[in-house]
Each structure stands twice: as C-alpha cells, then as structure tokens.
C-alpha cells in the first residue's frame, strides 16, 4: 500500500542508475486520513470552557441564646412555586402594632421590567456610585487596589438596603440563583440567604390560595 520503494533502484545491476526520482515518494493518504480522523475526534470531544461558578457565603448560624439583630432597611424576597417572587420591605409584622402596619406582600417576577427594575430603583445611589468608579477604573484613572477598596466601601454603606432571600419548599434552585444573579448585576452590597419563618410561609400560602 504505502509506496516506499527504496529497493526500486537497488535491483538494477548498474549502480549509477539507482537515484530515480519517483523512488522516494511515499503515499501519505492513510496517514492523513488518520490525522483527520483524530482531529475530528478531538474537536468533538474537546471541552473548552471550564464550568463557571458563583461564590457565595452562607451565614453562620447564630448562637442559640442570642436574639437575631434587627435589620435596618431590610427587603425580604419570598420565592415560591411557578417562578413567583413575593416581597415586603422592613420588619415582618403579623398584625398592626405601634411601629407600623401589618406586613403585606407584593409580587415581582423574573422579567426585565419587574425584578431588575425594582432592584435598580432601590439600589440607585450605590449602583451609580459603583458604576462611576467602574468607569474611572476602566479608563485607568484608578489603580486596582484603590478601586477595590472604594467599591467595598460603597457596598458597605449603612443606609443601603439589605436583601434577604427566603424560599418555601416549592421554589427551585434556578429561582434562587436568578435572584442572586440579579442582585449581583445590580451590584447590591448586602444580601443573605435565610430560612423562612412560619408566619411568612402562611402569608405566602394565603396569597397563593387567593389567586
């Protein structure tokens, strides 16, 4: 098959004639076939992108005898079935009391006009601040370390909202990731995953039941 014909010239008795031109030609076709076969195989099996990930820190459970800190400016998202999000602002109140009215839930969804817009509104000052820093950083006006420090500083603003994410037993992992993702897109400084409380769950159930 492969035409290595080195002996081609050797058969002649006259030694001077042995360097014939075609005698060194090798048929490369099988090798090239194989090369392309391998190429196809590796191209098809190659995995280029390593999986990406999102870093998240969960809160340590508080010591049992300690009362949880009151959160100022809290916004609580309650995720539930069918990709629905309920939310309320401030402290949870099961009934009217001297500090405020009974908590009522409002609804958001995962579309661009709903959750994204809502977060953008709530987090406007911080968002603008960080965007401005980012612009400067991109134009090389800020060194890396200063940029990081300033962003951190802006994010730890005491007056900004803290977002709490709670889920009932019907919410999917995708819902949770989508909400966190949206918080990240809107450069929210403080958010945390928390367990849902019974009265909140009841309120969600009631809301789902009436619609």
């Amino acid at each position: 098959m492969a035409e290595i014909q080195e002996g081609g010239g050797g058969g002649h008795k006259g030694g001077k004639k042995r360097a014939k031109k075609q005698s060194t030609r090798v048929d490369m076709t099988p090798m090239v076939d194989l090369a392309f076969l391998l190429l196809t195989f590796f191209v098809l099996t190659a995995t280029f992108s390593k999986p990406k990930s999102m870093e998240l820190t969960f809160p340590a459970p508080p010591p049992p005898d300690q009362k949880p800190d009151e959160i100022k400016n809290g916004i609580t998202f309650l995720l539930t079935q069918d990709d629905r999000i309920f939310y309320y602002e401030g402290q949870f109140r099961a009934a009217d009391d001297d500090k405020g009215k009974k908590t009522s839930l409002s609804e958001l969804n995962f579309s661009q006009e709903s959750l994204h817009k809502y977060l953008l509104e709530k987090n406007k000052t911080m968002h603008d601040q960080i965007r401005a820093l980012d612009d400067k950083h991109k134009k090389n006006l800020l060194p890396d370390t200063t940029f990081k420090r300033l962003v951190k500083q802006a994010k730890s603003d005491k007056e900004s909202y803290t977002f709490l994410i709670k889920t009932d037993d019907q919410a999917t992992y995708k819902n949770v990731i989508d909400v966190i993702d949206e918080l990240n897109i809107n450069v929210v400084g403080k958010y945390v995953m928390v367990d849902i409380m019974k009265p909140e769950l009841d309120m969600v159930k009631e809301k789902l039941g009436t619609q």
Binding site: M28, S53, D82, F110, S111, Q112, Y173, D178
Partner: protein, 229 residues
C-alpha cells in the same frame, strides 16, 4: 489559456499546507484534551453572570432534580484517604484494589454499603446501578454519610494540599497549587430545599463558603423571564 491538454487523471494539488495544519490542530487538541469519566447523573445548572472558574482542587456535591446527592473529590490521594476513613467508620471493608479503583471514579451516589459492589461493577453497569439513591443524608435516622464524606474528604484534601505545599516550599520554590474549595452543583429544576439540606451539612461543619456551579450566561444583564402568566 494553458495549452496543456488535460489528462484523464486528477490534477495534482499540493496538500502539504493542509496536512501541516491538520497535524498542528491534532497536536493542539490532543494536548488540551482532558478526559473525564461520565458523571453518574447529568445535571443542567442554571445560568448566571458568575465569572469565577471552578477551582481544579474541589470537593463537589452534586444535587440532581430528584434531590439525590452525589459526592466527589478531585484529588485522588485525598479521595483514597477519605474512603479508608469512611470504611473504618462505617465498618464496611474495602480491598486495596477497590480503593485504588475508587480514586479514578467520578462522583458517587450510593450508600457506603453498596459501594464495593458499585466499584466492582463495569462502567456500563454503573449507569443503571440499582441502589443509586444518592448518598444518604438523613438526620432523623442518624445515617448522615454525606456529612462524614464532606468532613473526611475536606480534611484529607487539606492535608494533601498542605503536604504538597510543604514539599515544594522546602525546596525553596513557589507553590502554585490551589487550596481545596467546596462546590455545589445542582440542576435548575432542583427544589431549593434539597440544596438547603446539603448546605446545612456544610454549615454544620462550619464551612460557609461555596462555589455554586452555574453555566455562563451570554448577555450579562438579561435574565430569563419566567413563564408568563
């Protein structure tokens, strides 16, 4: 223009550049290819704008959409050590050969007492291996194997990392390895409470930082709108 009469045979074409390129590509793909065995379950993670690469040195818990948990360690040495300790703790004997074979397997999702059988099974049989119920993490009946896997796996991964680091630093060289990280991979459709159960195992062990594996999202600012109602 050419006055040469075309002969019956194919025109000679210089293939050399093409063949050169083909070999170049073959070499490239061969060198960059990394072979992995098929995971016991395929999960389809949700997308996010997260840009952090999954660390090479990881301890991975996969949760599929039925809530089954699968456990894997990327470092084979740590994996073998973890299995040895698990075997001692739950009094399930493993042969040396099984331990060695185990280090090459991807994530596992079987009860420890079924694990010897799982290891001995052939690759094709593993896919349909029956008691693949996920690693038990019951807290009601105290049989929380996942927690032990995480604890022992994490401990050994850190030990292996420290050993390697020390060895390199003794030779006065820079150590380039990564510290082991804990990663959670779950399917989009997985109910969050299942993931929460897994996270609880981590937080019980005082591990609070994770990498949640997601697929990369194209645009960056657009999220999938939910089903319109």
């Amino acid at each position: 223009m050419s006055k040469k009469p075309s002969k019956g045979g194919a025109p000679a074409l210089d293939m050399t550049p093409m063949v050169d390129l083909a070999f170049l590509l073959v070499t490239f793909f061969m060198l960059t290819a990394s072979f992995r065995m098929a995971e016991p379950v395929t999960v389809d993670p949700p997308s996010s704008i997260g840009q952090v690469d999954l660390p090479d040195n990881n301890i991975l818990v996969t949760v599929d959409d039925k809530g089954r948990a699968f456990f894997g360690i990327s470092n084979p040495t740590a994996k073998m050590a973890a299995l040895r300790e698990m075997s001692a703790k739950y009094k399930v004997p493993f042969t040396e050969e099984q331990i060695k074979k185990f280090s090459g397997l991807p994530s596992i999702g079987v009860d420890l007492k079924d694990l010897p059988r799982y290891i001995d099974a052939k690759e094709e049989q593993r896919k349909t291996f029956q008691p693949q119920k996920g690693i038990p993490l019951d807290t009601i009946i105290p049989n929380n194997q996942l927690k032990d896997w995480i604890a022992l796996g994490g401990k050994n991964a850190v030990l292996v990392y420290n050993d390697a680091k020390k060895k390199v630093e003794d030779l006065n060289q820079d150590f380039k390895g990564e510290k082991p990280r804990y990663a959670i991979k779950a399917s989009s459709k997985t109910k969050y409470i299942y993931v929460k159960d897994v996270v609880k195992n981590f937080t019980d062990l005082k591990i609070y930082q994770f990498n949640l594996i997601t697929s990369l999202e194209g645009g960056g600012t657009v999220i999938n709108p939910g089903p319109s109602k």
